[in-house]
Symmetry: C2
């Protein structure tokens, strides 16, 4: 459980940056080289590599170097865990609203019978 | 679009902390007072209030003070946006895997016909 909590900390931290989210959005369409991933961003390569490092450290991205070319690919598991956590809260929230709705309908019906 | 990006930055940053996630998990089951929310955590009240401030600033929590009691409630919209962003990446990823699967099946069928 502590491990899952730590992984969620790292995943949500990784997602809290527009550059890292844009990299993930590109990789969700297929693997890409570091050069291709860095190209759209107006930042120094070392800065971009720091962002990639954050994504690799939390397991959202895996990279492999063949010759002089490093290729990255998305690993969806941490995204699924993050989505799962949010989904659980939403389910609880909707369930509570439904209960509130049932209660109000019941109250309304009781009032009408009076 | 820039506004949505900023909101996602703030929401994912808010979610990157176990105390803040625990507060949201409690509030997804209904409103709660600040004292009740703070009670399970072994931390000074000002530290806890800082966490609540982060949640309020990104719009995940709204609070109201009546007399001396401040009550908090969850606002689900930022959670829905965050879930939506992750869901989009997952859909793209699954679509790509399906395309890859179709291609491999086609390749296999062509090989068998030879």
């Amino acid at each position: 459980m502590a491990n899952l909590q730590n992984r969620l900390d790292d995943t949500f931290h990784a997602l809290a940056d527009p550059t890292r989210r844009a990299v993930l959005a590109t990789l969700s369409q297929g693997p890409a080289t570091v050069s291709d991933l860095a190209q759209p961003f107006d930042m120094a390569l070392p800065t971009f590599l720091q962002h990639l490092k954050v994504l690799e450290q939390c397991g959202l991205v895996r990279s492999k170097k063949v010759g002089r070319v490093r290729t990255c690919q998305l690993r969806p598991k941490p995204l699924e865990d993050a989505e799962g956590w949010i989904g659980t809260q939403r389910t609880l929230w909707i369930k509570r609203l439904d209960q509130l709705d049932d209660y109000l309908k019941q109250l309304n019906a009781t009032e009408k019978r009076k």
